[in-house]
């Protein structure tokens, strides 16, 4: 119990929370764009895992930044199927989303299976070093935990600012919101609903892929099947928990990561509590936040419904 009084315990947990949050931030921000525009992307898990594998396979022979970018493009490629099938051909979004998740897991598993010799070398990258923010990272206790991270984390925070701006200050962002709320009304005002939804979905594919790439290149470095371990679905939890706000998604991702790290850490504090109970902590916190925020949260009214334009 005495560990709980030590500052290092908490600083380690905060740092862990930020590391665990990083892939979630990319993925959940992308998905927030899509959902604000009315597209329920259950293929996020698929985008992430295909981004993870592609980033590794490119980064191994070349460089991490290139791999990172390709990871995003791979996610976008998978998302283009969502565009084709759901947005353009009006197939049910839930069905296509699940289909794309299976497709992503299957494709990555198969590529890994076929390109790895048993007992041979797997593709691998070494993990990035931390980039400390000067001065701030020297603050005692929390300094290093908050201000000493890899560039994937810093980039994700930069992305939050850009995405927040795009969502609330650009024409695209406002049109996306309009399209997600009431596509008929938006169309009546001359907004090209399908185009906006297409763009939002591709953004979510790209960022989902980047999330997988950040997971791979930032904290794992070597592929295993099912490696994303439902993080795509956790990103969905984060978005709803954050009531479809970009800033909220970033904070929600951190909150989730923090409590996940806390669960790991408490194993050595409460030795007798079963690990399953500790692992339930972040989900329980999500439920509490969800319940509290339900007063003001409002789901985009057009979420999950296809828009069929008048021919």
């Amino acid at each position: 119990m005495s560990q709980l009084l030590e500052a290092t315990f908490w600083s380690a947990t905060v740092a862990g929370g930020m590391r665990l949050a990083t892939p979630l931030i990319y993925a959940s921000i992308g998905e927030t764009f899509a959902q604000r525009a009315g597209v329920l992307n259950l293929g996020l898990e698929g985008y992430m895992i295909i981004g993870a594998l592609s980033s590794l396979y490119v980064a191994d022979p070349t460089s991490a930044p290139l791999g990172f970018l390709v990871g995003g493009l791979a996610g976008m490629a998978l998302a283009s199927l969502m565009v084709l099938l759901s947005i353009r051909l009006f197939a049910n979004q839930v069905v296509v989303g699940f289909g794309l998740t299976i497709l992503g897991i299957g494709t990555t598993g198969y590529i890994f299976h076929e390109t790895t010799d048993v007992g041979g070398r797997d593709r691998q990258v070494s993990l990035p070093s931390e980039i400390d923010i000067p001065l701030l990272s020297d603050i005692p206790w929390l300094g290093d935990a908050v201000f000493g991270h890899s560039w994937y984390t810093w980039l994700s925070l930069g992305l939050v600012i850009v995405a927040g701006f795009v969502a609330s200050r650009t024409i695209f962002g406002l049109q996306a919101k309009a399209v997600g709320e009431d596509p008929d009304a938006a169309a009546a005002k001359g907004v090209d609903v399908l185009r906006i939804r297409t763009q939002a979905t591709l953004i979510s594919g790209f960022l989902g892929g980047l999330g997988g790439a950040a997971l791979m290149l930032g904290s794992v470095g070597r592929f295993q099947p099912y490696l994303t371990a439902n993080r795509g679905f956790i990103a969905l939890i984060v978005i709803i928990m954050a009531s479809w706000s970009i800033w909220g998604a970033a904070v929600g991702a951190f909150v989730f990561g923090f409590f996940e790290a806390l669960g790991f850490n408490l194993n050595n504090v409460f030795v007798d509590v079963p690990i399953e109970g500790l692992n339930a902590i972040p989900f329980f916190v999500a439920l509490v936040i969800l319940t509290v925020s339900a007063r003001w949260a409002r789901m985009p009214r057009g979420l999950g419904q296809n828009y069929v334009p008048t021919v």
Partner: protein, 356 residues
């Protein structure tokens, strides 16, 4: 309502027609009987999981290379209990001579199937732990000693660690994982009773990022050595240990590629000799219970093949001499300690105790 379902019905009809056409076109390549033994292997994971499944795959591959007259089929990623019975049954009805169900998930289906296919030999894994399991004229049971995958690591860790805190990383908190951790602790304490331990679980066998994070947390809390009892997830533990410059040993499979600087040693399962033995038994008709009758767990006549360091089914991999991490004693000395342990087990002077 009527409209859509009729369309879906037509779909189904179309699919069936298509299938019948395809079935008519494709002819089954029934291999002519050239006397080769037909062996099927079912794995819970992928063949290149660097762990439990890979051990069986490599064992079969090597055994086949040595035997020379065996045809094999390998089925991977059969972990859902709904899938294991039909998969086994499919092999049995394809007249395979020997089916190796490499995982506890195949015990129940083998128990349900063996009587229906008396000419097919089944090897199951861990039936001895499942109450009511039986062996028969065509069913035998195999299991490795889980403690053998941990005890040598504990000896190594206690000798190598600079400091007094050892971090243990596991996948899910399963009983056999906890048993491994306890055996690891027992071994380390037998060398140095002053050691203390931190323990963390990633919660699954696939979540590599969680394993990396758990490892980081243990290191942040003061761990000077990391033992990872899992398999694929140990990639995460190895990456993190490497970044922190902390020595590492692994329960299932080497992590030398992931962390050549800090990885010291690992334990692996070796199945080749057992499989060669099985081939021979099937050919000579000596497979299964001695009297050909059914014998349940606990009865005399239950056919159980234990695996461990004592019969070289568990191998302690040589210490990674290229490691650059600081250790309390030299790498040669670590190797000598492991050699000594293995020698005493092989000579029958010492048996690794089952913890608890």
């Amino acid at each position: 309502m009527a409209r859509r379902s009729s369309i879906l019905f037509k779909f189904l009809a179309l699919l069936m027609v298509f299938g019948l056409v395809a079935a008519a076109c494709g002819n089954d390549d029934d291999s002519e009987d050239d006397g080769a033994l037909k062996v099927a292997l079912l794995l819970p994971g992928v063949r290149n999981d660097n762990s439990f499944s890979q051990a069986a795959y490599e064992g079969l591959r090597d055994a086949v290379a040595e035997d020379g007259n065996v045809e094999t089929e390998v089925l991977e990623e059969i972990i859902d209990p709904t899938d294991s019975l039909p998969a086994l049954r499919d092999f049995a009805s394809q007249e395979f001579d020997l089916i190796l169900g490499h995982g506890i998930e195949y015990v129940d289906p083998i128990q349900q199937l063996y009587a229906e296919f008396p000419d097919v030999a089944f090897s199951m894994t861990g039936g001895i732990l499942v109450p009511g399991s039986v062996t028969a004229g065509n069913v035998v049971d195999w299991l490795y000693n889980v403690q053998d995958m941990a005890y040598p690591n504990g000896i190594l860790a206690a000798k190598a660690v600079i400091g007094e805190t050892i971090g243990i990383v596991g996948g899910p908190e399963f009983d056999f994982v906890k048993t491994m951790h306890q055996s690891f602790r027992d071994a380390a304490l037998s060398v140095n009773p002053d050691l203390n331990f931190l323990e963390g679980f990633a919660g699954s066998f696939v979540d590599v990022q969680a394993a990396a994070e758990v490892t980081q947390q243990l290191i942040d809390q003061g761990a000077d050595f990391i033992y990872c009892s899992g398999d694929g997830i140990c990639i995460g533990a190895a990456q993190t240990a490497s970044a922190a410059g902390i020595p590492l040993s692994v329960g299932f499979g080497s992590q030398e590629q992931t962390a050549p600087d800090v990885y010291l040693a690992a334990t692996v399962i070796r199945m080749k000799d057992l499989y060669l033995d099985f081939f021979n038994q099937v050919r000579t008709g000596t497979f299964g219970t001695a009297d050909g009758e059914v014998h349940a767990v606990g009865e005399e006549g239950y056919v159980f093949y234990p695996g461990g360091i004592f019969n070289a089914q568990v191998e302690v991999l040589p210490v990674n001499m290229a490691a650059t991490v600081d250790t309390a004693v030299g790498l040669d000395e670590l190797q000598a300690a492991l050699d000594e342990l293995v020698a005493s087990i092989e000579a029958g002077e010492f048996a690794i105790p089952f913890p608890g």
